[in-house]
Symmetry: C2
Amino acid sequence: MKVLIVGSGGVGTIAALALSTNGGAEVTLVVRSDYDHVVKHGYRISSTKYGEISGFRPAHVAPSVQQAAENGPFDYIVVTTKNIPDGPSPCEEIIRPAVTKESTIVLIQNGVGIEGPMITEFPNNIVLSGVSHIGSTNIDCHVVNKGQDRLFLGVFPNPNVDAALAEQKVETFILLYQVPGVNLITRDPDVRQTRWEKLVYNAVMNTTTTIVDLDVNRCQITGANEALFEPAMHELTAIAASEGVTIGTDLHHKFKHIGDGLFYTPSMLVDSRKKQLLELEVILGNPLRIAKKNGIHTPVLSTLYLLLVMVQFRIKEQKGMVQIDPKDYQGDSDKYPEIFKAKQK
Amino acid sequence: MKVLIVGSGGVGTIAALALSTNGGAEVTLVVRSDYDHVVKHGYRISSTKYGEISGFRPAHVAPSVQQAAENGPFDYIVVTTKNIPDGPSPCEEIIRPAVTKESTIVLIQNGVGIEGPMITEFPNNIVLSGVSHIGSTNIDCHVVNKGQDRLFLGVFPNPNVDAALAEQKVETFILLYQVPGVNLITRDPDVRQTRWEKLVYNAVMNTTTTIVDLDVNRCQITGANEALFEPAMHELTAIAASEGVTIGTDLHHKFKHIGDGLFYTPSMLVDSRKKQLLELEVILGNPLRIAKKNGIHTPVLSTLYLLLVMVQFRIKEQKGMVQIDPKDYQGDSDKYPEIFKAKQK
């Protein structure tokens, strides 16, 4: 069996480690900016469960998906990159060079609706949902993993593929990934439930902390639990309910208190502080499009979303991904979005 | 007649210039950080209406209100500082050393409800409302004033004072301030109307641009006019209506387009970029307290407000005005606001 992992952050590197430790598959990891370092020195891993490891490298390391494809074809393509459909490299474009008829695509990423573009692009490939609860960061090739690597793996429904075969792909991946006593990978019987539950945290805490540039506990010091987090979670839960996913208010309580005392910086805030693009559309844009479709009133989340669209725009301009020439924007400001759209083409 | 001006920003320096040019009053200007420079060199003024002036100084310059008081007693105390009731120096504390029984207090400041703390502290003094439409900045003692100095002057209702006398104080101040053909100071027959109208801009544009750190036109490029500014203005107008102040939607249109093509940075955004405290409570906090009292639903403005409370907290921590020791915040995060309050005392 051959597995390609695209995305070498905290989740992808540990996935490479898990699969390599298990030994059932030949692993290729795509590493972009750190390629030279990883080829020479490998990763340093500091994990409470996997242990302290230096010089970790999977069987193959490749600087691009294109070059990784030479080690294929792959039975599984595991995507652990950030998911930014409004950025220059949507995930389906990133993995395209490696996708073959037989590839099962595993999206270990946050958000809802992430399977949509994948299934549109690769309608006959099986696409699996991975929801990771891990707590792992990769900073300059030092991977620090404090939580247990827990992965919930299920099938994104797709009428074009054989459902029984898809379930078999889940079982096989579990067998390839599991390291008994170390990680915990389980079949996810309800992909939607799992994703919407994680979203209750991400759509509220990641977004708010990013907008105001403060960690979770500092927001809570100003009274955010009652004033903002609870009403926003309530709206998110209502959207989930409109899709038939029931989320209890006990989960609101859990998520408001899961970081008590930790002064935790959610991943989106980490990204904005590094001036990197935000996973805004899969975490908040897609849920709000569902809300609109189902007629759910979401004034708080919609306001957070609109503000984050502006923050995303700011980051894109800072990165030079969009250019604004004031000369182009001198007339009726109602027309600025159209002008911008035309100029970006 | 003696006039004290407290606050030497773009509005205060031009007020000193207007009163000095008119010549009817002896002007004392409080200048804090730039005191030495102003004593030696005065201000450079670049004004489309007042002209190009170098070395401007009013009759007296004082480094503090305490020292300015030696030039008193004052007939008028004009307050042109930022109004930050949640900061370390509320306006009534700032001017206290200069206030006498006879002082008429003139608040040339943004926001609603600003007269409340003044009248509470000085219940028998006449307090006037000044709403300035000027377009003036003071950067390092160079005052650039592009718009005409238009000032609307009226009376804040106060049952403790003689209404006719208060109107007379308005008329007298107009006579002292006016410079025919240069500025335009007029009696404001409806202080509340004028203040709520200006608030339609400030409560929406100042707040949004500050939260996302983008100028007005850049927000509009992302679609803010329709998606955020209009709904937020609608809420603000509803609050005004609940107080008996009618604002037409033509004003929404005017304010959405008043800055077309200017890539304007509202004053609150200027403050946040300088890491200075925001005039949040008078511009948004007070209107929302009125909304709550009158049962007006304001989900968008309330969300903006809660986010700005967090931004204000961030600025206070950056300035060293609040200290957070994580050791103090280890238990139930619902209790963090109480802990914070207790620690700050």
